[in-house]
């Protein structure tokens, strides 16, 4: 039988089989498993049928709890069903998993194993999620490579039908799920051979049906539950045998032989390592290397972890083994050992007791690879070295330096075993320059055109704008087991010149290798421009050095900033992996494949880029020695705090792996205000202020997603020491008469989105092309503006108690959210920034997982910061689903503290002074001035308390700050508020407690890549709604308004910034629950974010996004609580929709259907407006009683 070679990642490898063998697929997106669901949806949308010729139905649910519920129901009703998930998602499935297993339900799910959030969230891979499921009764099958993820997926689906035990098939998140590899594709006949129809008929015969009704899910009592629970035992006993048989059958067909426990190594090994997952491939590779050097070592790969067959296990371990190390990729703090270790110890003991094995090897356990920490041959070797010791250390860690509990094994970072016949390449690129896409393409080309095996793995930094990508590619004559980053590369490419100053790009360059640099400077002049470290490495390692001005070639050929094709051509031209002509032809073929549908134009452009590249690629004559005096500049400024210099700076340089345990907070607590030390310089153009025509409206400041353009009004005397180019002008209005005014850009922090330019209303009257803010190239003005910005920061902040509470006034307030890693032009962050300006010094934020928790809290640097008094937003992220409850808990605690403090003030009134006590309890106002006054009183109170030597005084001292008003903001996206967190949100709002909820509504799951949510509007195309959503957006505001006691506002700063500011102020001041639903434009809408504000206006003008504020306090005043802040629809929805790819796509797919959806959208907008309009006229008979805060 002919089987195809395909170049795919682990997710696709598993999903291919799952889609072929399922009828119902219910999922919920979660990294790193999302792609499996997306692919399944895509295949169904393309009409790809399953093994039996029907289209699997793919359903996106509101949470993993929902997905597994749907899965459970589908299986009870006899459909072949699957799901894909990871991490917290898997944990949400656990209760149903017990049920599914208890009912002996054939089911195979696929898990891209990922860290479960503990002291911090991590999207990366380890086994902490799957290990939390080992008690559910699921069989657990582990794959360590892309090929295995494909093969064992089939074993899982086949075995579950025969054994009736449900299967959890897992592979390592990212390392396997996202690694691209050349594999052998299973043919339909392979699937058919292992999944006979007869088993499916048996399965269906057990389905719930009114034609043969039965009952499942009964409640049982002490008399019977126990026995009934034991009734399933025979199935578990039979399961390993079934898996073994199926593995045998698969082996016969494919030549790939798997066992329950696969042993690789010396038949008389004295040292054996036992582990699961991708790490065992690196171990396998190392064992092969050690064997050649005469060492007696072996590795046991656990494939079927549950049910655990002791007999198969002990038979697989050579009797000669004297010492065994069991490696776990998870941590169970407080346990005797981590789970695989415990099982191995127990298994060996039981085997000995049962007479299955006589020898009694020493067993130690160790931990490795948490959160995708690298696991390399050096680490494997250090484990074998440890096992060779007379008394090997137990409960060790490997891969880190633990200088606190000293558990870590040392390893030699320079240790390298990679064979010479494997080509290795590393590419440093920007996300936006297309490097990753080009490399994926190169892998396909090489995989297709040569017999070589190929591997690609891609590392991204955690920023959403200006993100750095590092691609690791391997090509070799054998399947590649190197499940770790390339450590020594024969080819290193740096696609951005500026990286040379930030990263140790040549660290991985192998001696005698090749270095390709995208350089604006030509081959003669480039050497002098390199930092000393780079020159030294080129000379020492005797690298061949090539340069190309890729941006020039891109410009010449109309490619803009996309240098992917150009750099890819260089790679093939220099690396010699393919003959040059053949490579060029293949690149062109790939271009045609990619862009064919988009017309010859793009193809032509790309072809031209390929041809121009060779003419512009030059080898540099490398001097004998490095003579540069300029070294790589420090990662952070000298004046940065110690922690930032010691810890953050290393993380920024990509050297975080080197930080030892002692450098870290023990409980996940980190300092604020670190983003300001990371000067990213990602904008090629930044705004420049023309003070002469500026209207001083501060709209640019409000709109800036990154707090990179700011306004201050100040005393003229401040200008005394200003840098020469510092711009300033008389303030125009009366409230700060005689003051000076400045708009200042943070040149190194700006992302260049130009949203500020778009919102600027001030045009030069005789040359309207010129605005008060225009974009200009950053490089020439960087240093001068950086100095100006530093000076600007030192100008005293405006007196908070005096600013006007309007758009202009509030923008003089210091933002306590700055320079986040959000996308350039992000539509969410302006709201967060505004919130911190208004209330940041007294706010606690509960942040749902999603974009806002990533740009808000993903290390190395974070944007929330403090003011000069050291106050600022205290921020925490719990989970995705529990955020409303998390925030409510904060409120309850604040109220409890405040209550207790007030009681103590009353009690100690005579000692602290009756007047002070009375003022503390009675006079606090919710205004800025009131808060400042209360803070003064608290300081006075502390002064008095110092002299009182009682426990109560101490207690009051610790609680006194809670006498000052504190605000809780519960922040998250629509995925949280509309879907997974909706139940909790509803409950929290119904509680009546004083919390403020900010929903950053991008109308789609943004962080995980554009899956539809219930906030997705009618006719928008999204993942899981490819043809355009047919159901209107859920009207969350209307639903919550029905409570009557909740403040609800729907806002869009680009349409009405005044209303936005009002809504924030009202929500915060309202002494009950408040909900703000904020229109947030997003890259997932598909247009240039510079026009985000304009699109917001069109959304409002078309009636698609009406603006309103529902304030229960108005009812008390006898007015209608709902105030409609936008006019009836005045433009057609098309005028808004046509500008966004998400809507255009559904039009492209089916214009007639799109038109119907469009008409429906228009009708819905008109109808909704009419309903709101009526409601805005409704006065409620009596007002609910309000309690004073």
């Amino acid at each position: 039988m002919s089987r195809q070679h395909i170049m795919i990642d682990g997710n696709e490898a598993a999903a291919l089989v799952a889609h072929k063998l399922s009828e119902v697929i219910a999922i919920y997106p979660i990294t790193p498993s999302s792609n499996m669901g997306e692919l399944a949806d895509e295949w169904t949308a393309r009409g790809r049928r399953n093994l039996w010729g029907t289209l699997p139905s793919v359903m996106e649910m509101q949470s993993e709890g929902g997905a597994v519920g749907a899965v459970h129901g589908a299986m009870q009703s006899g459909a072949l069903t699957t799901t894909f998930t990871a991490s917290q998602g898997l944990l949400l499935m656990i209760p149903s998993m017990y049920k599914i297993a208890g009912e002996l339900t054939p089911f195979c799910m696929h898990v891209a194993a990922r860290t479960v959030a503990a002291h911090a969230l991590s999207i990366f891979g380890d086994h902490s999620d799957v290990m939390a499921c080992r008690q559910t009764g699921f069989a657990m099958l582990s794959s360590g490579s892309v090929q295995e993820a494909h093969d064992l997926a089939l074993i899982g689906h086949a075995a579950t039908l025969r054994s009736r035990v449900p299967f959890l098939h897992f592979f390592d998140g990212f390392r396997t799920s996202h690694e691209i590899s050349k594999i052998d594709e299973l043919a339909d006949d392979d699937l058919r051979a292992l999944v006979p129809d007869e088993l499916i008929r048996e399965y269906r015969a057990r389905a719930l049906t009114p034609d043969r009704p039965v009952l499942r899910g009964s409640a049982q009592n002490p008399d019977t539950y126990f026995q009934a629970r034991e009734a399933c035992n025979a199935w578990y006993s039979a399961c390993p045998g079934i898996v073994k048989e199926l593995m045998g059958a698969l082996g016969k067909r494919t030549g790939r032989n798997y066992r329950l426990f696969d042993y690789v190594g010396h038949p008389e090994a004295d040292r054996v390592v036992i582990m699961m997952g991708s790490g065992s491939e690196a171990a396998h590779e190392t064992v092969d290397w050690l064997l050649k050097r005469g060492e007696k070592v072996g590795i046991l790969k656990v494939r079927l972890f549950r049910p655990f067959s002791i007999r198969d296990f002990v038979e697989a371990i050579p009797v000669s083994a004297k010492s065994i190390a069991v490696l776990d990729r998870t941590k169970e703090p407080g346990a005797i050992g981590d789970p695989l270790y415990l099982d191995v110890v127990t298994a060996l003991r039981e085997a000995r007791d049962e007479g299955m094995r006589r020898t009694d090897p020493k067993v130690v356990g160790g931990r490795y690879g948490l959160s995708s920490k690298e696991f390399t041959p050096a680490m494997v070797k250090s484990v074998y070295d440890e096992l060779a010791k007379e008394k090997p250390r137990n409960h060790f860690t490997v891969g880190i330096q633990d200088d606190v509990t000293r558990l870590s094994l040392p390893f030699d970072r320079a240790f390298d075993i990679e064979p010479a016949d494997v080509s290795r390449a590393v590419f440093y690129g920007l996300g936006a320059d297309g490097t990753v896409g080009a490399n994926k393409n190169s892998i396909s080309i090489i995989g297709d055109k040569t017999p070589l095996f190929a591997q690609g793995y891609f590392v991204y930094d955690s920023k959403k704008s200006g993100a750095v990508t590092i691609s690791h590619l391997r090509f070799g004559p054998r399947p590649i087991r190197s499940t770790y980053l390339v450590q020594r590369a024969g080819f290193v490419a740096c696609h951005q010149f500026s990286f040379l100053d930030r990263y140790d790009v040549l660290e991985s360059a192998a001696p005698g290798g090749t270095f390709l640099l995208n350089s604006p400077v030509g081959p003669e002049a480039v050497w002098a421009q390199l930092p000393r470290e780079v020159q030294e490495q080129i000379v020492e390692k005797k690298l061949r050095f090539h340069v190309i001005d890729a941006l020039k070639v891109a410009g010449l050929t109309g490619m803009g900033v996309r240098i992917n094709t150009i750099m890819q051509t260089c790679f093939f031209a220099i690396s010699g992996i393919l003959p040059r002509a053949e490579a060029i032809a293949a690149i062109k073929g790939a271009i045609e494949d990619t862009y064919g549908k988009k017309g010859a134009d793009v193809v032509k452009k790309n072809f031209e880029a390929v041809d121009q590249t060779l003419a512009n690629l030059h080898e540099v004559k490398v001097p004998r020695e490095a003579l540069a005096t300029r070294g790589r500049p420090p990662m952070v400024a000298a004046e940065a705090p110690e922690f930032v210099k010691k810890v953050t700076a290393l993380m920024l340089a990509g050297k975080g792996d080197l930080l030892p345990v002692s450098f870290f907070p023990v409980d996940g607590t980190w300092p604020l205000g670190t983003a300001r030390w990371e000067k990213r310089n990602i904008a090629t153009e930044i705004p420049v202020w023309d003070e002469a025509i500026c209207l001083q409206c501060n709209k640019c400041v409000l709109a800036c997603p990154h707090a990179a353009i700011r306004a201050k009004v100040y005393e003229p005397a401040v200008l005394a020491g200003a840098p020469a180019g510092f711009k300033s002008i008389d303030y125009k209005q009366t409230e700060y008469k005689g003051s000076k005014y400045t708009i200042q850009v943070a040149p190194e922090d700006c992302t260049g989105c130009s949203l500020c330019v778009e919102v600027c209303p001030a045009r030069d009257k005789s040359n309207p092309k010129h605005k008060a803010i225009d974009m200009a190239p950053q490089r020439p003005i960087r240093e001068a503006e950086a100095a100006n910005f530093r000076y600007f920061l030192d100008i005293p902040e405006t007196d908070r108690s005096k600013v006007r509470q309007d758009v202009k006034g509030t923008q003089f307030l210091e933002p306590l959210f700055e320079f986040s890693g959000a996308c350039a032009g992000c539509g969410e962050t302006p709201y967060l920034k505004l919130m911190t300006q208004l209330f940041g010094d007294r706010t606690i934020i509960a942040n749902a997982t999603g974009c806002s928790s990533i740009y808000g809290g993903n290390l190395p640097t974070t944007p929330y910061t403090v003011n000069r008094d050291g106050r600022g937003p205290a921020w925490a992220n719990s989970l995705f689903e529990d955020n409303a409850e998390f925030g409510l808990g904060m409120r309850l605690a604040l109220d409890a503290h405040r209550q207790h403090a007030r009681e103590l003030v009353t009690k100690l009134a005579s000692q602290v002074g009756e007047v002070l006590a009375k003022e503390l309890l009675e006079t606090e106002a919710a205004t800025e001035a009131g808060i400042a006054a209360q803070r003064k009183r608290v300081a006075a109170l502390r002064g008095k308390l110092a002299g009182i030597k009682t426990d109560e005084a101490r207690r009051l001292d610790s609680l006194a700050d809670y006498l000052v008003r504190k605000t809780v903001w519960i922040v998250g996206g629509d995925g949280w508020a509309y879907d997974i967190g909706y139940g909790g949100l509803d409950h929290v709002l119904a509680s009546g407690r004083d919390v403020n909820v900010l929903v950053l509504d991008t109308e789609v799951y943004s962080n995980t890549g554009g899956q539809q949510s219930k906030a997705t509007p009618l006719s928008a195309s999204a993942k899981f709604a490819t043809a355009g959503k047919e159901i209107p957006k859920k009207d969350l505001g209307m639903m919550i308004m029905s409570y009557g006691h909740v403040y609800v506002a729907r806002i869009a700063f680009g349409a009405n910034d005044k209303q936005t500011v009002q809504a924030f102020l009202e929500a915060e001041s309202y002494p009950g629950p408040s909900l703000i639903i904020a229109y947030s434009h997003c890259i997932a809408h598909g247009y240039d974010m510079a026009y985000g504000a304009r699109q917001q206006k069109l959304a409002v003008d078309s009636g698609i996004w009406p603006l309103y504020r529902f304030d229960p306090r108005r009812a008390a005043a006898g007015e209608p609580p709902l105030k409609l802040d936008s006019a009836p629809p005045k433009i057609r929805p098309e005028e808004y929709l046509r500008n966004e790819t998400r809507f255009r796509m559904s039009e492209k797919l089916d214009p007639a259907r799109h038109r119907k959806l469009l008409n429906a959208a228009q009708a819905a907008a008109a109808e909704r407006y009419a309903v709101y309009q009526q409601l805005a006229g409704v006065k409620v008979p009596h007002a609910p009683e309000q309690e004073e805060k």
Partner: protein, 337 residues
């Protein structure tokens, strides 16, 4: 006996001269069905703008590709690009849908500025089943470096290349803004065009004086716009040897009659249909037929060109003098009121 209304346009035998002109009317299959039911002799699709295609392709590419593979949690932010027909692809898909939905001829329309674009798209339209083509020469003459002669040459080269690359008939849709329109029209016809359409209507930029921004507008036509076209039909119909069509300003039965009398072999209607719906076409056809019958015309052929420069009783009035005359009478009217 009823008059014979049949006419030939771009090699297509049509039962009468009336058809909806290039417009968004044909975007929707239901409207198209209604137009066919109303008796349309053919369907003219909206123009495929070469420039628009390039821009849309670039924009979509930017929107979909720019963020692909840039962030660790999301490989992309949209369903796969290749699932959506973009650029000319979606136009061609729509053309195919129209072809299978209606029995009357479908005339595709394209609008571009480069020779490459014209030819490539025209061929694709022919392959997708278009019965004929319209080339909309959307030429403002805004390039100070291009002389009138060069601009005309450019058009002629396009027409020549088109002739070589497609077999189906095609017409050139012109604006009235050429120095020697009659000469250009003749050369276009000699270069291989099968017909001329008078005239296209440009989007006119308006100015938002508050925001200091330009806002493009397109107003629906009125019957007053027909007059310019009548004159040029009358001038060109004897001067060129290919059929002419009128587009712009046909709103009622008499407009149709006048256009045919001036020399139009095909009459395109857009604004009237946008205002009154597809059924309007039916009443225009019926009205035209009735008018011919009432006035004892036996055929459209008999009427066509009867008021052209070659045959009308007072050619001077067409060519020149009515300009001065009309302006004077308009001034008198102003004074009177």
């Amino acid at each position: 006996m009823s008059a014979n209304l049949s006419t030939t346009w771009l090699g297509l035998k049509l039962p009468h001269p009336l058809m909806p002109g290039a417009s968004p009317l044909v975007d929707d299959l239901e409207t198209v069905a209604a137009l066919e039911a109303a008796g349309a002799a053919a369907i003219v699709m909206h123009s495929l703008f070469e420039e628009q295609i390039r821009r849309e392709t670039d924009e979509t590419e930017m929107a979909m590709d720019a963020h692909s593979d840039t962030y660790v949690e999301a490989r992309s932010y949209f369903p796969p690009r290749d699932m959506f027909p973009l650029g000319p692809e979606s136009y061609l898909e729509h053309l195919k849908r129209l072809k299978s939905a209606v029995r009357i001829p479908v005339i595709a329309s394209l609008n571009g500025s480069t020779r490459g674009g014209w030819i490539e798209f025209a061929r694709a339209m022919q392959d997708a089943g278009a019965d004929a083509l319209e080339l909309n020469v959307y030429d403002l003459g805004a390039d100070p470096d291009e002389s009138a002669a060069a601009a005309e040459e450019r058009i002629l080269r396009i027409v020549e290349s088109m002739r070589k690359s497609v077999k189906i008939g095609f017409a050139v849709k012109l604006s009235p803004f050429y120095t020697s329109l009659a000469n250009l029209a003749r050369r276009i016809s000699l270069a291989g065009a099968d017909g001329l359409i008078l005239f296209n209507r440009f989007y006119q930029p308006d100015i938002d004086v508050e925001a200091l921004e330009v806002s493009p507008t397109l107003h629906l036509s009125t019957s007053s716009e027909l007059l310019l076209r009548l004159r040029w039909l009358a001038i060109l119909s004897p001067a060129v040897n290919v059929p002419l069509a009128v587009s712009g300003g046909v709103h009622d039965t008499l407009d149709v009659v006048k256009a045919v009398m001036s020399g139009a072999g095909a009459v395109q209607v857009v604004s009237a249909l946008l205002q009154h719906g597809p059924e309007r076409l039916k009443s225009l056809i019926q009205g035209f037929r009735a008018w011919l019958d009432e006035h004892d015309y036996v055929s459209v052929a008999q009427m066509k060109g009867s008021m052209s420069l070659a045959r009308c009783p007072d050619p001077k009035a067409v060519e020149r003098s009515n300009y001065a005359h009309l302006l004077q009478s308009w001034r008198k009217a102003q004074v009177r009121s």
